[in-house]
Amino acid sequence: MNEKTELRIIGKPIPRHDAWEKAFGLTCYAADFSLPGMLYGKVLRSNYPSARILSVNTSRAERLKGVKAVLTAKDVPRNESVTRFGQTHVVGGGFEGLYRVLADRKVHFMGEAVALVAAEAEEIAEKALELIRVDYEPLPGIFDPIEAMKPDAPLVQEGRPNIITHYEVVKGDVKMGFSEADIIVENTYRVPFVDHAYLEPESGMAWIDEDGVITIRVSTQVIEHFRGIADVLNLPHNRVRVIGTYVGGGFGGKEDITVEAFLALLTYKTGRPVKLTYTREESILSHSKRHPYVMIYKTGAKKDGRLTALEAKLVSDAGAYVYLSPWVLLYSMVNAAGPYRIPHVKVDGYTVLTNNTFTSANRGFGAPQVCFAYESQMDELARRTGLEPEKIRMMNYLEKGEALATGQILERHVALQETTEKVIEALEERTLPSGQMRIGRGIASGMTSYGRMVFLHDTSRSHVSIEMDGSVTIRAGIQDIGGGQASSLCQITAEILGVPIEDIKIYIADTALTPFAGTTTATRQLYMSGNATLMAALEVRKVLVHKAAGMLGIDPESLDLVDREVIDKEGTGKSLPLKEVVRACASDGVPLYHVALFKAPFRNIAQFERIEGQVFPDFTFGTHGAEVAVDEETGRIQVLKLISSFDVGRAINRLSVEGQIEGGAIYGMGYSLTEEVILNQGITMTPSFSEYLLPTSMDVPDVETILIESGDGVGPFGAKGVGEPSVCSVAPAIANAVFNAIGVRIYDLPLTPEKIVKALKEKKDMG
């Protein structure tokens, strides 16, 4: 294959291979699976955000008919270990926090797991939870990360400071940078806790197979938690098997362990299959959230719009456990100055423990938070310089070959000039205002990495084989969370081996049977497993072409694989059915499979305090444009137009790429306007979808997607990842549009009607 070869399957808008079963309602999600004799698991959770556990009495629960196990911290072979996130390279640097299965002596947030029950029926398990008596002594908690940073603040976790991590990025001398500035804009931004709100709550089922292996079938983004689960049970890693189901939405919320360790313990203790599905309330109360940030930004520019300096201080609320907080903060650090050419930059970032719900990965992973700040700042600078918002951005965008403030060189195409132009064009004529509705429009650009941080030494494997009849099998330990992860591997393989996509069968997400492909996180699967699958398929192709060349007496270079045949590209009409070549290879004992290992660039970080050099393999760049109508009376914001333009490198499946970008835009719109997990002194005030408001079909416009295909990504065929990048700059685009409509800027997400009305009143009062 060379670059000039015309692609037959890549780039086409075709339904995914998994879409049929999903449309028929046949896909077996985690909670759709049952086994004879199974028990139902339930979790007892703390009612206090901060309390000492004086005693736990389980005897009444244990005596209830139908209860088969009641477990507390003392029953967990290894209750405390280190959080890992599927990485096999030990990084150090404060990157791995405490992982505690069940609360022991203290509870640190409301909803922390205290005890587990398994019973013959769900109702019995629920009844048993009521019969467990826990005596708590409430303790003072700390709920504001700024307060938690103070030296006299109570410690959230015994024996460790509340400040988990401090990072800095330093480029040039910001003092000098600000002295050169004609205009300085300084603001404080706040963003809230956000729930992933996947429609499938956390769920799984575990059993012990005939060989004594603890087997867990679970909705997860990371099957490689099997190692951590084995550690909890003190079992060798190869005695725990995790099978990932098709996931009913992940968005980062199924990146950490959810039900797996609970299930493993209950099935281990009872010897019976156990099923456990969280209720929606439990999911909102107890599982991870997107990090709230306080962000103090100061940006300086010359009168002509050229940026001179940026200084930022970021504080993120990690909640009660570390989980992925240091990583998320590191992403924010790299992204904090945005995709701009700024001679002098200083960023300080802190992530801090509190007694709030713990926070961890959420689609965008630290990039959307800072994007809201840096793009609001850019808009403010546009106003102060009198430049159009797109002009000041286009003047300052980084270009290929230039470096981020961390020193990482952007080695690939930076398409922001194009994406900005496309968005401006697509916004078209401004909608006319009517009555008390004010119309405004705004844009914002952003960058988000794809692929994990290079010091994690990330790898992915994929196994491609061709069967005797010419059908093709892929085995890859990827998790499919709805983004088309599995289907894109089928498309790549079909392209390379010249077979229709229906000839491919893919087996995914099984730690016992599929080669490890790493996590479905960090927008990495197309990049990592796409490349691994491409490598494997090319090896199989090479074997077939070599054999066919001998059979046909033609130079291998002039052969191609098309429609289940090996053909002569020169048009001699010579060809062989693919399966005939396969049979001939099999007779010769030539391997008709290949397992490929793809390695991301490996770098080591010199020190974690100061973030320098290459941190990511590459970035995806894009721009959002929004037109809004703001009701000056009620403060209600209606998004009339939402436009997303991204350089996707190469669209492997146009339907999937557009779907990701549309979905990402609305995920970002929810972040902008309505979504907020409200915690009052550590107590969740928004435990259902009546309080936690997701966008409905009535609230959203048709998202217009404009793809740029530079072909300059590091994924297969030059693709870039879009899953997370598609969210990044929506919130500032909408906030900038609101400013454009009513002349007031809101610095806190979400942009609720109350905030709009209040800001308008303050503006009026100021005269």
Partner: protein
Amino acid sequence: MKKQITLTVNGVKRELFVASNELLLNVLRDHLELTGAKYGCGIGECGSCTVLLDGEPILACLTLAMAVDGSDVVTIEGISGSDGRLHPVQESFLNHGAVQCGFCTPGLILTGKALLDENPQPTEGEIREYIRGNLCRCTGYTQIVKAIKDSSVKGKA
């Protein structure tokens, strides 16, 4: 207290013993092994459990099985042809890429079908209004609305 009820599910008459507090969703999923209807929130806020009751979309997680004794229930498993052919709404969802994680898909396809049965040529606004009780977290609804609209156009032609 268990009581016998009769439901016609996907065209087949079923006699079932159900408890007085048993929900239609659990009866479908646990007794009849029809897992296409999903538990998403349990309190009628997300629409993932949608099935058709005498042709109308209802929330199976809020419906007591006893209360619908004698009714006709259609689930996602019941709308494709007996030869395995896709219903036009299902086919349109595939062709538009309206299926991502797929968890909301059964409910949205059934709701879309109910709309088209009632109003074969809905406007985009009518579609958005009709499906507003079915949340989708992946797609942003753009392709779902197009899929329903497109299958209505095809239905007419």
